[in-house]
């Protein structure tokens, strides 16, 4: 700490605002002043007497006490006492004092001079400290005014750098944090110098350790510049680097103020980040609302006529009665209508997935129940195919979105049904392994060409062997929903025959028997 010791002794050069200004050697000044007063008093002594000269010396001590630091003031007090003794008290031009009265006078003068010097300099130093505090808050206020309230971030940072440079008489640079949380190599464009490889290393150290580093600090003081992390909370959002001129010295008070500056700049950056986040969320929200409204109105426009046709078919069916060719026609229309409805539902689901408006609602599910529900939903399409359901013994309840999972399982069942012959077996299994729900659906169809497997979850992709009637969306929807739930779905040709789909979902689990004891 030799460096800072030095600065306490008031040597550095005056800053722009005189904030940390120190006079040149005040001790020299002190001694010269005493010499001057002594010289001026010598001719006066015959007029006013040597005792009045003591008052002139005291006046000097008081005046000096109001302008100089304590050390020089005490020097003035002591040397005045000695000068008065030597030049004026009889016997003159010797330190010897003749009369007891003069000896007393000298003693009292000495004490009074020292005490006055001490008191006035104390007064002054507290006044100085007060002024320094004021200037410091003025500087911070100015930073907040100019930088914090700037309409845009770049303007704010530019103002912050300019203010730092003017206030401390240094050159400044800002290195900001990249989105990937590393420190940018290139300084912000408002900076007035760029860092050498070596200085960047020191800046990076300050950034990583969240501590000031470089010149005037305890860490790597041999550097040419000082680097202060822009710290907010436990995070560093960048580094403020200052490059002082060669002969310049900054003390701990200045470094501390610079640190406060760095913190404020950090706060400005953070405020900007937060604002950006809010803005982005607002845009996202607005676009999601729009998407929803659009989806709702499209769905309304498509499904209303569909409903009218459906009600019409039902009314006609009832009117015509059983049997006859019209009934057959109506049945075919009914089938086509169901298919159209499925296509529309698939398109709407796919649109929901692609516009990201799917927000799973997690709740406890009985997986067996989900599979049963999917089985009910697909019963008409499954026809005479046999569905084997094999649930793991003691399968726990899982937390997931039941409706989404149910639709995925039924889409896989529909896919199995359309790719395998009647009277084949479709097998579903479910188990929980390491907090992952694994559901498999296997059919006994012909399987899928290996070259087609990677594309099977793409929207509108239809296998070359696929039967007519599908939309090519069912599996894409499964993939989209399972992703929305945080899981994945894969497909492979099974060893024997057909294909096997595997849904893997990370889930919270709860064993029913644990619950029964509680309930």
């Amino acid at each position: 700490m030799t460096r800072s010791g030095n600065i306490d002794q008031n040597i550095s050069r005056p800053g722009k605002f005189g904030l940390f200004g120190n006079s040149p050697n005040e001790f020299v000044l002190a001694v010269s002043l005493v010499a001057l007063v002594t010289g001026a008093s010598l001719p006066l002594e015959t007029l006013i007497g040597y005792r009045a000269v003591a008052l002139v010396y005291l006046l000097l001590v008081v005046m000096v006490g109001m302008t100089l630091r304590r050390g020089p003031v005490l020097l003035v007090a002591a040397s005045s006492a000695l000068a008065w003794n030597f030049f004026f008290i009889p016997t003159r031009f010797s330190l010897h004092i003749k009369g007891i009265e003069d000896l007393m006078m000298f003693g009292m003068f000495f004490v009074v001079a020292i005490a006055m010097g001490h008191l006035t300099s104390q007064l002054r130093s507290s006044e100085l400290a007060e002024r320094r505090r004021q200037q410091r808050s003025a500087a911070l206020y100015e930073l907040v005014q100019q930088a914090g309230l700037a309409p845009d971030l770049d303007g704010g940072l530019r103002a912050a750098i300019t203010l730092t440079e003017n206030l401390f008489g240094v050159r400044g640079a800002l290195l900001l944090r990249h989105p990937d949380l590393t420190l940018a190599k290139h300084p912000h464009p408002a900076s007035s110098f760029s860092l050498s490889e070596k200085e960047y290393g020191v800046a990076a150290w300050a950034f990583n350790h969240r501590m000031p580093a470089g010149k005037f600090t305890d860490n790597r003081p041999e550097s040419e510049a000082a680097h202060l992390p822009l710290q907010v909370g436990s995070e560093a959002l960048g580094v403020l680097s200052i490059f002082p001129s060669a002969d310049m010295i900054l003390g701990p008070a200045e470094i501390e103020l610079l640190q406060t500056f760095a913190m404020l700049i950090g706060t400005i950056l953070e405020r900007d980040h937060l604002l950006q986040g809010v803005k982005q969320a607002e845009i996202l929200n607005a676009s999601e609302r729009l998407q929803r409204a659009l989806l709702q109105s499209v769905s309304h426009e498509l499904k209303t006529p569909l409903s009218a046709v459906q009600v019409g078919i039902d009314a006609l069916t009832k009117e015509i009665g059983k049997g006859g060719r019209s009934q057959t026609t109506l049945h075919e229309i009914q089938q086509a209508l169901r298919r159209l409805n499925r296509v529309i539902n698939n398109l709407l689901d796919m649109t929901r997935i692609e516009s990201g408006v799917i927000h799973p609602k997690l709740d406890w599910c009985d997986v067996g129940d989900v599979i049963e529900a999917a089985k009910d939903l697909t019963a008409d399409v499954m026809g005479s195919r046999k569905l084997e359901i094999a649930l793991d013994r003691g399968l726990p309840m899982v937390r997931t979105d039941q409706a989404l999972l149910e639709q995925c399982v039924s889409n896989l069942l529909l896919n199995a049904a359309s790719n395998s012959g009647i009277r084949t077996v479709v097998k579903i299994t479910a188990r929980v392994v390491n907090d992952q729900l694994v559901v498999t659906v296997r059919d006994e169809g012909k399987g899928i060409a290996e070259s087609e497997l990677p594309h099977i979850f793409e929207a509108f992709y239809r296998g070359t062997e696929a039967r007519p009637g599908g939309t090519g969306l069912g599996l894409a929807i499964v993939d989209g929903f399972i992703r929305a739930l945080g899981g994945s779905v894969t497909v492979a040709n099974s060893r024997a025959t057909g294909v096997e789909f595997v849904i893997t979902l990370p889930v919270e689990t709860l064993r029913p028997d644990v619950l029964e004891k509680l309930a």
Binding site: S299, S307, Q310, V311, A315, T317, L337, K361, D369, D376
Partner: protein
Amino acid sequence: MSENATALVIDDEPQIRKLLQVLLEQENYRALESENGRQGIADVAQRRPDVVLLDLGLPDMDGLVVLERIRQWSQVPVLVLSVRDGPADKVAALDAGADDYVTKPFEATELLARLRAIQRRVHGEVEAARVEAGHLVIDFASHIVTVGGREVKLTSTEYALLKILALHAGKVVTQKQLLREVWGPNAEEQSQYLRVYMMHLRKKIELPGAAERLLKTESGIGYRLVVPTSTEARQS
């Protein structure tokens, strides 16, 4: 069930209103129409229909608001017909006081079954001493539940659950309502209890290998005790 019941259709699409009128009249309903929410509310007050078919996407106000207004002074059974097919939309309508919910497009058999179920509930709650659903018979007076003629022992919680579903036979009951009525108002979010007891209940009352399940899960909404059409025919 009374024949020639009056059904009020509140829907802004003239085609749907007209075709529903044909369908309802085929089933011996007297059909009335309202083309917007305001008129619908007035018609419920003045013409006192036996059942209301309410669309949610009305031009002047949201169907849910219409439902809430009606529910302030009337317990008329309301069946919501809407293209909104998300579980959240359905739960919102049921919470607002709808008796059941059918998504458009719907098939006549489903619509008519729901209509019958919600009308039965209004009469059923006070009159029925027993409810039959397929092979299941619940006798409220004696608390005896039989499956295919054989009595099954239910715990008090299982019985309480089944009773609520039976009182609303054929109609969906939300998960929240079941939890609230069986476990109390603080248990509305504790769906895990419901899942476990439904598992037990199913094991006890559903016959293995039955074509259709009696206790149907409406994913994200709740449960429904299904009343097979054969049972319905026998009852009426």
